[in-house]
Symmetry: none
Subunit: 390 residues, 2 copies
């Protein structure tokens, strides 16, 4: 593997940006974009070399400015391996604010008028980020809470367990129209109720967590793919260009590739970039059928099937069958099923293949597990047991 030569910041052509606000149509600038590449270099400088109004979505995970002073130990006296990297150190709020406004302003310029921005942060930085987002003319659509299934406890018992992080989702301006939001698909994957602003996911651990040859984590703050996937499924379409100005371990790129999106990753650390490239090279994209946006049409009741995918209990692209294995369907990434040209909820597709007016997809469909079949209903039970939340 190597970082593509064209991806080096110094090789990227400098783009002329009109001062009048008139921009080259997006389709004409695509050949100027380092699509599906990792651009090595300072993120603000790299952003300046990207043409205006050229990307469809941005997912940004900037430094949090944690301001950690002292070492922290667990009650058993073991050492907590905290984020103490050079890239997370800023001398003051003013310096952090200036940095934040600089990269956000460039991001806004690079966004198509219909694009939206996600930024993730914690209480250390998210208020600075949110104020900057508003001051720069973005329009906040939602703030979203990532509730962590397994957060680190508060070892000293002096505060509440810091059990969540916050994402800001914003359009380019208050009057931006036509941004992508797959309301229907999200609803179908959420017990047929609207997807809420509080999301529940485990941390990125285990197999998913990138490790180096010595078994150490490659990046201190690698985000779970499920979190990024929900953002991309909600607010982008297959083929869209997703920009991540703080690419790190490349979660955005890996998820984008898997879901049939394209990506542009900016990263200044060659070690991170190398690890990200190898990771992405190993990603196998899902079939187009599995990621094509479901028709945004009011349909029959659908159920919380998406959560099982997000939890990794069912894989996008996996085949489901009925108990007698007479019928087959493919799971799509957004929590719908497909049989040939038909796309719909587990219930609707179950009814259709049987020629019945209705069907309980939870009891009808089965997944292959351990050389046998298991009703997805019992997978749902497992999920409930694992993720029981009030």
């Amino acid at each position: 593997m190597s970082i593509p030569r064209t991806a080096a910041a110094g090789v990227l052509p400098r783009i002329k940006v009109s001062r009048t606000g008139r921009q080259t149509p997006a389709v004409r600038v695509e050949h100027l974009l380092p699509i599906d590449q990792i651009v090595l270099g300072d993120c603000i400088e790299s952003l300046r070399r990207l043409p205006s109004q050229s990307v469809d979505m941005i997912f940004a995970d900037p430094p949090y400015n944690l301001q950690l002073e002292n070492a922290l130990t667990r009650p058993d006296n073991s050492h907590v391996d905290a984020v103490n990297d050079e890239w997370d150190r800023f001398d003051s709020f003013a310096e952090y604010d200036a940095f934040t406004r600089a990269w956000l302003a460039e991001c806004r310029r690079v966004m198509k008028k219909t694009a939206t921005l996600f930024v993730i942060g914690s209480y250390h930085n998210i208020f600075r980020v949110g104020s900057a987002v508003q001051d720069l003319g973005f329009w906040i659509l939602n703030d979203i809470v990532w509730r962590k299934a397994n957060p680190m406890p508060n070892f000293r018992g002096r505060r509440f367990t810091n059990a969540h992080e916050t994402l800001i989702w914003a359009s380019r301006s208050a009057d931006a129209r036509g941004y992508t939001f797959h309301y229907e698909a999200l609803k179908a994957g959420n017990e047929d109720t609207q997807m809420r602003s509080d999301w529940y996911f485990p941390l990125c651990t285990g197999e998913e967590r990138l490790k180096d040859a010595q078994g150490r984590k490659v990046h201190p703050t690698q985000k779970p793919e499920a979190l990024v996937a929900r953002a991309l499924l909600a607010a982008s379409n297959p083929g869209d260009i997703i920009l991540d100005p703080f690419f790190g371990s490349g979660t955005t790129g890996a998820v984008a590739k898997r879901l049939g999106r394209r990506f542009i990753g900016l990263e200044r650390d060659p070690v991170y970039a190398q690890a990200a490239q190898e990771r992405i090279d190993n990603v196998v994209p899902l079939d187009a059928d599995a990621v094509a946006a479901a028709p945004a049409r009011r349909t029959e009741p659908r159920i919380p099937f998406l959560s099982l995918l997000e939890a990794g209990m069912i894989a996008a692209g996996e085949e489901l069958v009925d108990a007698r294995e007479k019928h087959r369907a493919i799971v799509r990434a957004d929590g719908t099923l497909t049989v040939g040209p038909v796309v719909g909820s587990i219930h609707k597709v179950g009814a259709l293949v049987q020629g019945h007016p209705s069907c309980n997809g939870w009891s009808f469909w089965h997944a292959r597990r351990n050389n046998g079949l298991i009703a997805i209903d019992s997978l749902r039970d497992d999920y409930r047991a694992r993720h029981a939340a009030p």
Copy 2:
């Protein structure tokens, strides 16, 4: 009912505040405080009349600066009764920021050094508030998410359901020590696990929601008592003075009275103040036993290890061991332990034999009793029980 005359802003005595930072001890200023009263008038002016370092906790629910442009209708074309009051209109972010910094700065002055502040808001204003909190020198302890059990749906299907609000919990400064946090009590009431930063409560509806004679809600943003109660139970003690600079319908006062706290409410709208006063008058305080905080371990009197020897509960020359009996030490008559040539406190020797930087000797060392091991910590409990002050 009437608003107490002494509570009118114009009647409150102007307090002289030393510029040197030296302040009158809190106990001396209590008689200058409008305790358990609602102060009518502009909140910033009223705050200026309160003495410095005089309140134990602040719960603030400021205007959200909602920026609602057009009327919103539900899918059935019914009208959504949104917050559109004069007090929630600001011409710009700059104006809202100036207002926010003014009331927050006064709040900080009024807080005792051990006091903490809660502010609640939504994505419309919380980033402005959070930045101001940080800029003014507060130290954020947590951000907390109120997850709404029954949020209003997004009627247009263009965004995620806005299903949460955010609270910021902050101490007066980064080096503030001794703030109240009832860690053990919260843990005991939460399945014996730490209370997390994501809280789940229903909206304030039904009986709890104040209505006027025509059945209309008195206040557009009345908060649920359960939410305020958790904040007060977590970060205040019975008898503490809780300040609410945006008193509104008086939820903070009602909860404070019920939980045996005292309150100061600032409110500029006489209609809200009147409704709040009537509401609070009807609150019956809980028995003192029901609100007394369970004694936290760290607040219990310190017992020197020597006292256990003096009480005959441990004998000089006796052997202590750790729970797995891997380490042994001999008790010396002066209350120190010895292992070979080493002599030191129960903590020092415990740390040393384990090779740790520190150790809680009380939980590490065990004595042999009745053919088993008993932590010296439980001997200490016995000692405390025997020698408890009446």
